[in-house]
Amino acid sequence: MASYILKRVAGSILILLLIMVVTFFLMNAVPGSPFLTEKSTPEQIANANAKYGLDKPLYIQLWNYIRNYLKGDLGVSLKMQEGTPVKDIIFHQGKFLLSIKLGLYALLLAIIVGIPLGCLAAYFRGSWLDGALRVITTVGVAIPGFVLAALLLIAFSVKLNIFPTKSGNLPDFKSYVLPVVSLSSYYTCYIAKLMRTSMLDAINQDYIRTARAKGVKTGGIILKHALRNSLIPVITYLGPVTAGIITGSFVIESTFSIPGLGKYFVQCVTSRDYPVIMATTVVLSALVIVMMLVVDIVYKIVDPRITLTAKED
């Protein structure tokens, strides 16, 4: 187990490094300079380049990035908030926290709602409840998050005036509801579908019949025997869910005017603020990669049958 975790952590660091390299070259493949505006003279651009070390050869710039990141220095912003350390922008201005909160609540909602719904559908399979849930989840995975966000916005903010149209810094519970619901809807539905299938699989296994024969109550069977075994596909799906929720937050944040990291990332990509692009990519990727790592380890804990080395294939 320990050696597996070590191996995976090393692999994750390697992937993160690779992402840094790829991001670096992609950023620098954009023609022109981040300092190029209508007014700027070639000298000004050259000065700015020299100031931020952009005049050095690419491999030295890349090495500087990696060295500074290892020291925990994320550089300073070139454009969006010139001169401000990127670390401050991401962590101290609340952007990271906002996105994390939003994503975490969405993830929790997807799990808390999706899993029971899937269990219910499986348990009452063939009934009207199953049918209704199937329709809802099938439609749910076909609606893009931003479309749902906008529709909810029309219905609950514009027409009914229950929730605010702009969630801003998420000051109260009300401002959370719409962003979190629209961010998690796709994943809630997907998890419910996944859960239903795997629960049905589990219910038809022999050990369930054995438990029933022993006289375990239905609730106990579902919770103790079937649920634990049917959770595995859902857990494997949580890695991609994290990535998806982070992605989804880009549009949700701009729909609800939340000044989070996702919205900021899109802005700094278009304005070519190199250090901020790099830092945001690394932070968000690290989040996804750590989540995938955690998922793989939880996977092992939930189902001891899985041998981690065999998973390589």
Partner: protein, 456 residues
């Protein structure tokens, strides 16, 4: 004279011996009658793979309905634009910001005149709408012909109807009269054919087609744009899925067939791409590729038809394709590799190898055709995910650029005016959802039909 049976091997049964043992004479053999022949005809025609799959698919009501609805969407996206008189890019200055089934003033007038008959055109003179309408002489210009008529006072809305074919009758109706169909209450105005600089220009309108989805702030018909957007989205989805199909299936089958260290390295690459949060890279790629692509289009569009087609699509869409080619083929590659690992142990592959078939031939002639089920299913399910990605990018302002439209960019445009014109979002959103939904359902149906083992 009995013809001797050729003997090929010592193990071959000797027919003569058999006939002798069972006491059968040559004369016992006779030609089969037609009746007897018929009884030998197979009772059922053998069902081909596709026929069988189609039979299974057909019995799946949900998938059939989804397929039908998807075909309707295809009709809407590809035939629809030819059936309505509006174009996705044309801006109708007088018809801005209309709701569904609303008409601009001009169009209302034209609608009133619709009952007038073919070949007639109409325009309205409303009190207040044209300030210059003091009593006096007026000129009306219609094409090359100009008319002049006198008006005493304009107290009511007036419909002027011109006969296209003859210059003569110029009829003036009150709007009321037109509504009631009381065509007799017209005044024939005196008119001449003198062209004049001061002629009032008549807007000639054909039969008015309603703006079913309304119009946007620049006066573009939203139904035309939605149709066009749906077409763009579907094309993007299909092309992206085909790119994934080609790259993923080749990569997967090479990796699976090669095995050993090659497979190991190739699969590590797949895992690596798999664990990259792709949308971050996609966003970067979109920005990175935009300018170089445009430069490339400009440099080569003269010489190459392919580049010209690409540049018609625009840099945004082409970079979506490139993104798919770089990042999104990994799922397909994994699935096909799994299949190939299973298939390559089959006897026919061994036989082909023994006969000296090259690896390329084995992949294209033996392995991939036998993976047809997973190939079709994964490709079909790839289309909605590509549409999702495209709409996501367009929503962030990175996909297609105006006046081109995709369902995502339409939604994104609509969001800016959502409080005033919510219907602008609703229509493209519904079309987008229906397309993705039906493709998902068709994909599920295909999975059940093509690969019954997977059915749970």
């Amino acid at each position: 004279m009995k013809a001797p049976f050729a003997k090929f091997s010592p193990f071959q049964v000797d027919p003569d011996k058999i006939m002798e043992t069972f006491g059968i004479e040559d004369g016992d053999f006779s030609k089969a009658s037609d009746n007897e022949k018929e009884s030998m005809v197979e009772m059922h025609k053998s069902i081909s793979y596709w026929k069988d799959a189609w039979r299974r698919f057909r019995s799946n009501t949900v998938s059939m309905v989804a397929l039908f609805v998807f075909l309707v969407c295809l009709f809407f996206a590809f035939i629809g634009p030819y059936l309505i008189p509006y174009n996705y890019a044309d801006q109708y200055r007088t018809s801005q910001k209309l709701g569904p089934f609303e008409y601009s003033e001009d169009e209302q007038t034209a609608r009133l005149a619709e009952g007038v008959g073919d070949g007639f055109f109409a325009t309205a003179l409303r009190p207040g709408s044209i300030t210059a309408l003091d009593p006096g002489e007026y000129y009306l210009k219609s094409g090359r012909t100009s008319y002049v008529f006198t008006l005493d006072t304009l107290t009511e809305n007036v419909i002027i109807v011109l006969d296209k074919n003859s210059a003569e009758p110029l009829k003036l109706y009150t709007e009321d009269a037109v509504k009631k169909g009381a065509w007799d209450n017209y005044t024939v105005l005196p008119c001449t054919n003198t062209p004049s600089e001061n002629a009032v220009r008549l807007t000639l309108t054909k039969k008015v087609f309603p703006h079913v989805f309304g119009t946007d702030s620049s006066g573009r018909d939203l139904m035309a744009r939605t149709m066009y957007g749906a077409r763009v989205s579907i094309i993007i989805g299909v092309v992206a899925a085909l790119i994934v199909l080609v790259i993923g299936s080749l990569y997967g089958s090479i990796s699976g067939l090669a095995g050993g260290p090659v497979d190991f390295v190739m699969m590590r690459i797949v895992e690596l791409i798999y664990s990259i949060p792709e949308v971050l890279i996609v966003l970067l790629l979109q920005v990175v590729l935009k300018d170089p692509l445009q430069a490339w289009f400009q440099a080569h569009s003269e010489t190459s038809a392919f580049v010209r087609a690409m540049s018609d699509l625009g840099a945004g869409i082409v970079s979506i394709f490139i993104t798919f080619a770089v990042l999104y083929w990994v799922t397909m590659a994994r699935i096909i590799r799994g299949q190939v690992l299973m298939l390559k142990k089959q006897e026919y592959v061994t036989a082909a190898t023994a006969l000296g078939a090259s690896n390329g031939r084995i992949i294209t002639k033996h392995l991939l055709p036998n993976c047809i089920g997973p190939l079709v299913i994964t490709t079909c399910l790839q289309i909605p995910s590509a549409i999702f990605l495209e709409s996501f990018l367009s929503f962030l302002g990175l996909g297609v650029s105006a006046p081109m439209a995709s369902l995502g960019s339409l939604c994104s445009d609509a969001l800016q005016t959502i409080t005033l014109y919510p219907y602008r979002l609703v229509f493209p959103a519904i079309v987008l959802t229906i397309i993705v939904l039906t493709l998902n359902l068709v994909g599920d149906g295909l999975r059940d039909a093509l690969d019954p083992r997977l059915k749970k």
